[in-house]
């Protein structure tokens, strides 16, 4: 037994700056650059001064002509400001530069050795001063556009130059990059990571407005270029359509607005603002830009959930098409409600009729819906439009499980409780399981308390160091143990309680403490989908009873196939 205790200085926010080599001259250069020079230093408190934020959360990157700065589809949370040179933005064309290699997998023998190398004590750490600090630098390596002249000639590009900003869509929406940006000349870019941007936005309303304005206008174009409904339009028409589109934000940032799970299905709609009401005139096509929406229909004294919509889904298209085909004014068949927060775009029906529908390929036009559905008795309408049975779809929406891309779903009719999944998880995580085989359940479906790697990972917002982040290419949510300072912000923000704060220990099992206060040092832990392990998530492979699966809830078909397996 070791009588000695390990004491360290409590890790702090800026222990690991974005670029440890950033010089004072560089900081001054950034502060004198566009965007930054407009900020008012007096708005920042002494402990978090403007130069401090720049010194710790910004860096200067240098690129050569043709270098890729960000690649469409990659995940990233930085914004960039052009310090010198020019870049081009490329929408809707993915250059063939090869995807980055997946996270390095450990060698076979190394994996096997885990069986005896795993620590006997819980949550042990080796504290090395040279910890992998600059995790954010783990870029894709230098990626290069091989045929830059041809790409510029064949695809429409938008040039950006000195002082322009880009990258704000992913930073604000926590989603993948919507366009590729490459260097048109040799250039220098200021890269500001999310933590810095968040603080600058919070303290400087002018910057906030500037970034949000950019976000609104650019994400509109990105959205239109991504949507198959507008893909057949030329640039001039898209610009005309874009001018007529209205943005709206609904709901709250909270996924559970009341802070509690709804108790019964009628009550579940209480915190979900109505955006479009069944029976009212179909004035607009509604496009979901971010967040989730519930589609309902009136049924007796309540509302029945028909399905849910997510990013890039549309509402009201069928009615608009019927109106356009000369059926007079067609009222909305369903209502639309915001689940948590919701960003939408409204395209006026007249704009759709004038510019979009006449040239839209026939296969994209919705087929006339089965109008007899309402004649079906209530008790027989047992499946929602998602193909999942009605009570289960209510459960998945009420519990906000629809946010998960890797939800751990357990079939209680087959789970014997052998805990092979938990043991497998522990074996791959130094003896510490990263989930609890319990959670909300409906009938035979249980959603275990394991990180779901959400579409909208709200746990990412508040982390002061960026320790919790998305994998650049897969978008999976990981925590960098070396840069986690144990503040617990992410754990408090995860609406599903899937991040567990643990006290860490040295190899002898003694809890490591803060030298100054004697308090235990903590770290955030959660499921990392067995990143780096051979063969993918061990939990799923370990279940001998076919009871456990990781499912993408944004694709109800996956769930349906699994339920009927």
């Amino acid at each position: 037994m070791s009588a000695e205790t390990t004491a360290i200085s409590r890790p702090r926010r800026w222990d690991n700056p974005f670029d440890p080599d950033l010089s004072t001259a560089d900081v001054e250069r950034i502060l004198a650059a566009p965007v930054f020079r407009d900020l008012d230093p007096n708005r920042f408190p002494p402990g978090q001064s403007l130069p401090d934020i720049v010194r710790n959360d910004a860096r200067i990157n240098r690129y050569q002509r043709g270098d890729i700065v960000v690649l469409e589809g990659d995940y990233g949370n930085s914004v960039f400001v052009i310090l010198s040179g020019k870049v081009n933005v490329l929408y809707g064309y993915l250059p063939e530069i090869g995807r980055p290699p997946r996270r390095a997998r450990r060698p076979f023998w190394n994996a096997l050795a885990q069986l005896w190398r795993n620590s006997r004590e819980i949550e042990t750490r080796t504290l090395s001063p040279s910890a992998r600090a600059v995790h954010m630098r783990a870029n894709r390596g230098r990626a290069y556009l091989p045929d830059i002249e041809r790409v510029i000639a064949e695809h429409s590009v938008t040039p950006l130059e000195h002082g322009d900003m880009f990258g704000e869509i992913s930073a604000l929406s926590r989603g993948p990059r919507t366009a590729t940006v490459f260097a048109d000349t040799d250039c220098e870019l200021i890269e500001l990571r999310w933590q810095g941007l968040r603080d600058l936005r919070a303290r400087d309303p002018d910057l906030r407005e500037r970034v949000d304005h950019l976000h609104r206008t650019r994400s509109l174009l990105a959205h239109l270029s991504e949507s198959p409904l507008f893909a057949h339009l030329d640039e001039a028409t898209i610009a005309l359509v874009a001018q007529e589109i209205r943005f709206e934000n609904h709901g709250t940032q909270e996924l559970f607005p009341t802070g509690e799970l709804p108790t019964e299905s009628g009550g579940s709609l209480a915190g979900e603002p109505l955006i479009a009401e069944e029976g009212s005139l179909t004035d607009d096509l509604i496009m979901i830009r971010a967040g989730f929406a519930r589609v309902t229909e009136h049924l007796d004294h309540g509302n029945r959930t028909v399905g849910y919509l997510k990013n890039n889904d549309v509402f009201g298209l069928e009615e608009i098409v019927r109106q356009w085909r000369g059926n007079g004014s067609v009222p909305l068949r369903n209502s639309l409600r915001a689940i948590g927060y919701l960003d939408i775009l409204r395209v006026p029906a007249v704009v759709m009729e004038r510019y979009v529908l006449p040239t839209m390929p026939e296969h994209l036009l919705p087929v006339a819906a089965d109008t007899d559905i309402r004649a079906t008795p209530v008790w027989k309408r047992d499946e929602s439009a998602t193909g999942i049975e009605q009570p289960l779809v209510d459960f998945l929406i009420d519990e906000r499980i629809i946010n998960g891309t890797q939800s751990m779903v357990i079939d209680l009719d087959r789970c014997t409780g052998c805990d092979d999944c938990v043991k497998a998880c522990a074996a791959t995580h130094d003896g510490n399981p990263r989930f609890v085989r319990q959670g909300p359940s409906h009938d035979d479906v249980m959603i275990a308390n394991a990180c779901m790697h959400c579409v909208d990972a709200v746990c990412l917002i508040g982390c002061p160091t960026g320790a919790i982040h998305r994998d650049l290419s897969s978008g999976d949510v990981h925590i960098n143990d070396d840069t986690c300072i144990g503040c617990g912000t992410c754990s408090r923000s995860c609406p599903y309680g899937n991040i567990v704060m643990v006290e860490i220990a040295d190899k002898a099992g003694t809890v490591i403490t803060d030298r100054e206060t004697g308090a235990a040092i903590r770290r955030a832990t959660k499921c990392d989908l067995c990143a780096g392990q051979l063969g993918g998530p061990a939990c799923q492979r370990a279940c001998p009873n076919d009871a456990l699966v990781r499912l993408d809830m944004s694709n109800p078909g996956e769930m349906v196939a699994w339920l009927h397996r």
Partner: protein, 278 residues
């Protein structure tokens, strides 16, 4: 009910067909060997040994989750249907008769025990999870004791408060004589596993019969006690079912390893006696 066959049904049909096919082939080969006066007991013996070693590898797979060795559920399918093949080979090898010598008996008994425990295990694994769903929320096995203690504490507090709040000792008395012990330990395991619910009905009736002796506050307490009895009964069900799901493995796995050792001894002796007389 899905109209078309589910993946599980198709899998079961395919695997059963494979086992039946393999068994028929084995019977044909044995028959042929008998008519041509060949002794193929060494062939069937070694096949059986190989099969059982293969089946035992499943346990190894479960212990090495860190390697990409395929999904455990595929392994389990091979294990189950490979097990049935082993039974067919065993019957062929022993001529489907009862053992006679002491070593044969020593081999026969564990083989039959492993087969029975495996079959029971599969049956339990397919039946109990569904039944558990009808008995309260699924509780983690390691947490059952804590949950039981919480329920017991609440029941005890109710009983104590009943004496004070109702001014009568009826409830406290009943608690002392009947319920206190009931809440302390898991109960009625066998009844739960056989699906018998009489004990719960009896207990509820007894509690019900006390209602006439207490006032309005007493009714409330009795109602809650009745709920707690039911919650505890569900917990007992979870405990009984989850214990059974663990217990069969404690029988099946060590017996299987013991069987492997005995088979190895048997093989050595069989070869020794074959070449011995020369």
């Amino acid at each position: 009910m899905a109209a078309s066959l589910t993946r599980f049904t198709r899998r079961r049909a395919r695997n059963t067909a494979l086992v039946v096919g393999a068994t028929l082939l084995l019977v044909a080969i044995t028959h042929l060997a008998e008519t041509t006066l060949h002794d193929i007991r060494f062939v069937t013996g070694w096949t059986l040994f190989g099969l059982i070693v293969g089946l035992a590898l499943f346990d190894l797979r479960r212990r090495i989750p860190v390697l990409p060795l395929g999904s455990a559920s595929d392994w389990e399918q091979v294990h189950i249907y490979g097990g049935w093949c082993a039974v067919a080979v065993f019957l062929t090898h022993t001529g489907a008769g009862l053992p006679d010598g002491p070593l044969e008996i020593a081999l026969w008994i564990p083989f039959v025990a492993v087969t029975i425990s495996g079959t029971v295990g599969i049956w339990l694994s397919r039946v109990l999870p569904k039944r558990m769903r009808d008995h309260g929320a699924r509780e983690l096995y390691d947490r059952i004791a804590t949950r039981r203690a919480e329920i017991a504490a609440e029941a005890q507090a109710l009983a104590i408060s009943s004496a004070r709040d109702t001014g009568s000792v009826t409830i406290a008395d009943y608690y002392q004589k009947e319920l206190s012990a009931y809440f302390q330990r898991p109960r009625n395991a066998l009844a739960h596993l056989t699906g018998y619910q009489g004990h719960l009905r009896l207990q509820q009736q007894q509690i019900q019969s006390l209602h006439r002796y207490v006032d309005a506050r007493g009714h409330k307490i009795l109602n809650r006690l009745s709920e707690l009895v039911e919650i505890k009964d569900d917990l007992d069900y979870q405990f009984a079912a989850q214990s059974a799901l663990r217990l069969w493995l404690f029988v099946h796995v060590p017996l299987a390893y013991g069987l492997l050792i005995l088979i190895a001894v048997h093989a050595v002796l069989a070869h020794a006696f074959e070449v011995g007389p020369s």
